[in-house]
């Protein structure tokens, strides 16, 4: 009875707080144990000498030694990180362009659309970096059979463009992009799906109005579709940034896992922490820049 009175005693706001916290309770435990604690630990590893011993970890404070080891004494790490960032940046832009383009195509009406959509969802189902590398085994086989016409290799095209007298670096960057088409297509599954959802969320009335007002399809796309799906563009952009910066094939992530497997915990944590900090700054900057231009129905 006492309990009951106490419950009544709580204000409406107080009761909502309690209820809300009850709903959050599993996550509160989970996030503390499996996120906050590991994150702080990893952060601390950076400044310690960590050795694995029976029964647990032994940590010895070493100050900034690890960071110095990883970023100043190592000849390759800084370069590896900058290269990884640059290549991921390019990938993100290409993924965004490709996925919005593909979604617009898939949103149109044509015969066999269901089949095409099903095929486009394949990357979501078999998304895994290792599988992608198995897929590319084809290259290896064709080279054994000395057949130059692999679909993921554009040496023939490279030669052709150069014979037209184009600049070598330009040709190189074009052929790099072509070589990455496979990766781009296979990494865009979720993004295409989200953009499709976005396109369907645009009210049909708006298209009817704009066509009645005499706008061309092109104008409608830029003036109606793009603003209305801009929240999705932001979400997709952030998703792509995170996804490609932490992709299995990313050299930094590979190095982090290698160091981890070699039990160099302090090196792996220093590397991943600094890399994460950079990615976080990029993500926040992108979100900050983009959110100013994002359309919101509530405004």
């Amino acid at each position: 009875m006492n309990k009951r009175q106490k419950r009544r005693g709580l204000s409406y706001a107080g009761r909502r707080t309690v209820n809300g916290l009850v709903f959050l309770s599993p996550w509160l435990i989970g996030v503390t144990a499996f996120f906050v604690y590991p994150f702080i630990s990893t952060f601390l590893y950076m400044f310690h000498d960590v050795t694995l011993e029976p029964g647990g970890m032994k940590m010895e404070f070493t100050g900034l030694k690890n960071l110095q080891e990883v970023f100043i004494n190592s000849p390759t790490n800084v370069r590896m990180i900058t290269e990884a960032l640059a290549s991921s940046f390019g990938t993100v832009i290409l993924i965004m362009l490709f996925s919005i383009f593909a979604a617009v195509l898939l949103n149109q009406k044509f015969h066999g659309r269901a089949v095409v959509r099903a095929i486009f969802a394949l990357p979501i189902i078999v998304s895994s970096g290792i599988l992608l590398s198995v897929f590319k085994e084809d290259l290896f086989v064709r080279s054994i059979q000395s057949d130059p016409s692999t679909i993921f290799q554009s040496t023939a095209l490279q030669d052709m463009l150069q014979s037209f007298g184009l600049d070598v670096t330009l040709v190189q960057s074009i052929s790099d992009m072509i070589n990455r088409i496979m990766d781009i297509v296979w990494q865009s599954g979720v993004q295409i799906l989200l953009f499709l959802a976005a396109l369907q969320s645009v009210p049909r009335v708006l298209y009817e109005v704009s066509s009645a007002e005499g706008a061309t399809t092109w104008q409608t796309f830029w003036k109606v579709t793009i603003p209305l799906i801009s929240p999705y563009i932001l979400l997709n952009g952030l998703y792509s940034i995170i996804d490609s910066f932490t992709f299995y094939d990313n050299p930094v992530m590979k190095e982090v896992m290698n160091q981890f497997n070699d039990m160099n915990y302090e090196v792996s944590s220093a590397l991943s922490m600094v890399y994460f900090a950079i990615v976080l700054v990029i993500t926040l900057a992108a979100a900050g820049l983009a959110s100013r231009h994002v359309y919101s129905a509530e405004k």
């Binding site: 916290l21 996550w27 996030v31 994150f39 990893t42 189902i125 290792i130 198995v134 679909i151 959802a197």
Partner: protein
């Protein structure tokens, strides 16, 4: 004059005839990129050894053979690996679907101090790469202290069991749980508040409203989350390589596929085509269950993503 005529005819031609044609070629090209690896996989996995080196065999083998599958099945212990993968993926996906729904609802509907701060934490869990925090998590499960019980027994080693995944799934954590919480929150925010108010007036409290009103009306979004979680756990090789490196699961087998095939065929250099066929057969085995699920549930899946409009 011809210019004007071209303009008139051209526009119509583009809209009526040319564009569908261009679209067809673009879509065909992309679909080719997506289907090609699978076809290649199937084509080389069913080849008998004699056909592997035969240059006149391009796609369809003359001597159909299951030997690569048999060899790989035995090597990765397929039944055992499949069982473990299902235990991990399906179990965790179910737990995450439930727990994240609860948490997402908590974030969507209850105002309290510090809620925004906690939600920033959700976003952070999405942004921080798994690899960054795997190390302490590895240690935690290697020397796991069960609350209260471990006072008497000491720590247990939970590595190479499904428990690390299940525990995290139950507590709304684990692979991409932050994203699921985010999705649920957006979804529940978009639900009309009148539903809950009516339920409250009819005598439901916050919990029974959630169980009886909100959950039944969010089946679509739950299917979406379940499918995503299932697929991501199935394909996850990063976490699996740390938390279950020594157990037999398909993800682990996939990671070691090439080494396995090299080892089996005696070094790989001697017979690269055989190694290759074995790798393709093994990879096909690993993704086959997901392909089946996909073939059955793809339509519901895409439709539910589209209809619920995730971001709201």
């Amino acid at each position: 004059m011809t210019g004007i005529r071209w303009k008139v005819v051209g526009k119509k031609a583009v809209q009526k005839g040319l564009w569908p044609l261009i679209r067809f070629f673009i879509l065909f090209g992309i679909c080719f990129l997506l289907v090609y690896p699978l076809l290649f996989m199937i084509s080389s996995a069913f080849r008998s050894q004699e056909d592997l080196w035969d240059p006149s065999v391009v796609w369809i083998t003359r001597h159909f053979s299951l030997e690569h599958f048999k060899a790989m099945m035995e090597f990765i212990d397929f039944p055992e690996a499949l069982r473990n993968s299902i235990l991990i993926s399906v179990g965790t996906a179910l737990l995450q679907t439930g727990s994240c729904a609860m948490v997402g609802y908590g974030f969507a509907r209850f105002r309290f101090k510090g809620r925004e701060g906690l939600f920033v934490l959700v976003l952070l869990t999405i942004i921080v790469p798994q690899q960054t925090i795997l190390n302490p998590i590895f240690m935690m499960f290697r020397f796991f202290h069960i609350p209260v019980v471990s006072l008497f027994t000491g720590s247990v080693n939970l590595l190479n069991t499904p428990f690390p995944y299940w525990i995290q799934g139950l507590l709304g954590s684990g692979i991409r749980a932050g994203l699921f919480i985010f999705i649920y929150r957006q979804f529940f925010r978009g639900m009309p508040q009148e539903l809950e108010e009516a339920a409250m007036i009819d005598g439901c409290n916050a919990y029974s409203t959630f169980l009886r009103i909100m959950l039944p009306s969010s089946v679509m979004i739950m299917v979406t989350v379940f499918m995503f979680s299932l697929v991501w756990h199935w394909n996850d090789t990063v976490t699996a390589g740390v938390l279950s490196a020594n157990s037999k699961t398909l993800a682990v087998a996939l990671t070691n596929l090439r080494e396995m095939a090299y080892y089996m065929t005696g070094g790989g250099d001697e017979n690269p085509m055989l190694t290759q066929a074995r790798v393709q057969a093994g990879a096909l085995l690993a993704i086959l269950p997901m392909l089946i699920v996909f073939a059955l549930g793809q339509k519901t899946f895409t439709e539910s993503v589209e209809r619920t409009g995730i971001v709201g």
